[in-house]
């Protein structure tokens, strides 16, 4: 007989389990990379920098916290996809849990099973993070160091601290599972709407700005690191919290001014369900921030560095940029999937709409608008904030401006491009959801 946890995991679907394993593995690998950067500080920074031939922003103890933060922020879109994976097929799960509870399972049993459903693959993923990290260390560490600056420290190997990170990732997976369990076992579904999001997280952004301004005068070296990090964290958390409110506001505004049916539908959808789009947009904003910083950095390198040494900076920067932009594609996919799920939930209404003469291309248009309405402004804002913030630190020069502008353009076009591509990719599911067969009264 199969062990019970395995049976539970398989009942939840292989695709879902695979997605949970993949996202937790990437998260744990990214966190291990970030932690190995943090461990660098224990040795003399400059010696390790010289020995390892690290990418300058990572080797330099002054900018390293920023690099660590950037790696940690890269986990945000991955965790978002994890969240989406956990929600996938939630109607089927609800039905299964109802059947189990009729068969005598208590709600505590169900919550425990839900925790196992997500937790077991999450543990496996967290463990897989170690070989993935070692692979990254080989490719982006040892190998890259031969041609340019390394992105992953090579002098830091596994240690007891590795376990702490693995435990944290696994615990997060179990937590997410438990939460989805209480959602799925809740007697009343999400029939009523949670109220409109409130703009309170703006206070965190404000606090972050105040910290940044007050910290500017600070002189002690401990201060000089703690203050910018605190400021960035406050602003980031505040922005993430603010994003659903922004999505809601953008939806209301778009719907009110809409001239086209697609915009009207998109806006009202955002208004009715702003949280998933808002969270995704916040992640896009975080990526925009990274790309914005990179833009100024690259502009600065091009203006000030000897052409002979440029590769040391440009190759790693390009790799980070590619990772960041891949993250955008992933986020766009998660928004598009969510939007198709919403359409599928209301497939009867949507099929009726198509039957009354709304072509399915209007619905695709609505989907595109819904995705762009929140992610594009946040991508632009994040990118601008990253450029200006980093430029402010290193001193704004014409080269920095040019780099920032290029980053802005790049981010905007990648966001727009990936929304177009992903909505086109999920179009077959949308078309299936509006099939006239869904009009049947059965």
């Amino acid at each position: 007989m199969r062990p019970l946890p395995l049976t539970i995991v398989l009942a939840a679907g292989r695709g879902r389990a695979a997605l949970v394993v993949a996202t937790t593995a990437v998260t744990s690998a990214l966190l291990l990379v970030a932690a190995s950067m943090a461990r660098l500080g224990r040795d003399d920074a400059w010696s390790s920098y010289e020995q390892e031939h690290l990418f300058a922003p990572i080797g330099d103890a002054g900018t390293r916290p920023g690099a660590i933060l950037a790696v940690v922020l890269l986990t945000v879109p991955v965790l978002l996809l994890l969240d989406q994976a956990v929600r996938l097929g939630s109607t089927g799960r609800h039905r299964r849990y109802t059947a189990l509870s009729v068969a005598g399972a208590t709600r505590r049993d169900l919550r425990r099973w839900a925790a196992i459903e997500v937790g077991a693959p999450a543990v496996a993923g967290a463990l897989l993070g170690v070989p993935l990290w070692l692979l990254l260390r080989e490719l982006l560490g040892f190998r890259l160091a031969m041609h340019a600056g390394a992105l992953v420290p090579t002098s830091v190997g596994p240690g007891p601290w590795t376990w702490a990170i693995l435990a944290a990732v696994a615990a997060y997976g179990v937590l997410v599972g438990r939460r989805s369990g209480s959602r799925a076992t809740a007697l009343t579904g999400r029939g009523g709407e949670a109220g409109a999001p409130r703009p309170w997280p703006a206070l965190a952004v404000l606090a972050g700005a105040l910290v940044a301004i007050s910290g500017r005068g600070g002189s002690s070296s401990a201060d000089s690191l703690a203050t910018p990090i605190a400021a960035v964290l406050l602003v980031t958390l505040g922005t993430v919290g603010l994003a659903p409110w922004a999505a809601h506001a953008a939806g209301v505004r778009a719907a009110r001014r809409a001239r086209r049916a697609a915009t009207l539908i998109a806006g009202r959808r955002l208004q009715a369900d702003p949280r998933p789009a808002g969270r995704a947009a916040a992640a896009v904003g975080a990526v925009g921030l990274t790309v914005g910083v990179l833009g100024v950095f690259v502009g600065d390198v091009l203006a000030t560095t000897d052409p002979y040494d440029r590769d040391d900076y440009l190759v790693p920067a390009a790799i980070v940029a590619v990772c960041a932009l891949l993250a955008v594609v992933m986020i766009a996919l998660s928004i598009a999937v969510h939007s198709v799920e919403t359409t599928a939930q209301h497939r009867r209404e949507m099929a009726a709409l198509v039957a009354t003469g709304v072509s399915s291309s209007v619905l695709t248009g609505a989907q595109r608008t819904e995705c762009l309405l929140t992610s594009l402004p946040l991508a632009l804002a994040g990118s601008a904030a990253g450029s200006l913030g980093y430029g402010w630190l290193v001193g704004l020069s014409p080269a920095a401006y040019a780099g920032g502008a290029a980053a802005l353009l790049l981010t905007a076009s990648v966001v727009a491009g990936s929304v177009l591509v992903t909505t086109a990719l999920v179009r077959p599911w949308l078309v299936a959801a509006v099939d006239p067969g869904n009009l049947r009264t059965a």
């Binding site: 539908i265 003469g357 209007v362 009264t441």
Partner: protein, 234 residues
């Protein structure tokens, strides 16, 4: 062709199967402008399938459906969509309004797609909501409406484009008797006023009695056609 010159919609020899299930085997029907036809028959006899074929939502496997002399199967998907939007209205049993949109927006939507400016579309939608006595729900979303209210809004949406013909599939099926009769009265009265034809699927005899003509479908073919009987309203 054998079409009577004045009929606006004709169907001949319509066959439709879903996998192995044969839903329609040679159904035929003609609809005159402004008339009200009820399609009745036992469950599973193919009423909904016929209605969807007539409305150009489904394409028959064989057989011909024409609207004002144009074969629906000769039109491209987009042209058919446009035809449905401008000339047909559709009312279903339940669950047809976009849940995120208010009543007013739901009714204005087809007009916006026709290219009407939003204020015009909203004004026309408001008029229809008033006519169906649900103007107070203009800014309410469907989830907060009763079944009867939602049905009136759906009727307003079907009629707002001044269609030539309205198709209704058990429009009162999900409502209690009194609410259902009210909604039906509203639908019949409104189509009469706008001189639109009404093709009504139902298995409720009282509903069928409200029509001028009743056709009975059995096993995918028209079994009998006749007048609506004693209940015909004056």
């Amino acid at each position: 062709m054998t079409d009577t010159p004045q009929s606006i919609l004709t169907a001949h020899g319509v066959h439709k199967s879903f996998g192995r299930t044969v839903a329609l085997r040679g159904a035929a029907l003609e609809v005159q402008p402004g008339e009200c036809v009820a399609i009745t028959g036992p469950s599973g006899s193919g009423k909904s399938t016929l209605l969807h074929c007539l409305a150009g939502v489904l394409m028959p496997d064989s057989g011909v459906v024409t609207f004002r002399g144009t074969r629906l199967d000769a039109l491209g998907v987009d042209e058919r969509t446009r035809l449905r939007r401008s000339s047909f209205g559709l009312v279903l049993q339940f669950g047809q309004l976009v849940p995120e949109l208010s009543a007013l927006e739901n009714v204005a939507l087809p007009l916006m797609l026709e290219g009407r400016r939003r204020p015009d579309a909203a004004a026309a939608a408001t008029q229809w909501l008033e006519r169906l006595e649900v103007a107070q729900l203009a800014h309410t979303r469907p989830t907060a409406m009763s079944g009867g209210e939602a049905q009136r809004v759906a009727i307003a949406r079907a009629l707002v484009t001044s269609p030539d013909i309205v198709f209704a599939d058990e429009p009162t099926g999900a409502l209690d008797t009194v609410t259902g009769e009210l909604a039906l009265d509203v639908l019949v009265k409104a189509t009469r006023e706008t001189e639109a034809a009404l093709v009504l699927v139902t298995h409720d005899n009282r509903v069928a009695a409200a029509a001028e003509r009743e056709v009975v479908l059995r096993d995918g073919a028209i079994e009998a056609a006749g007048d609506g009987g004693p209940g015909e309203p004056t």
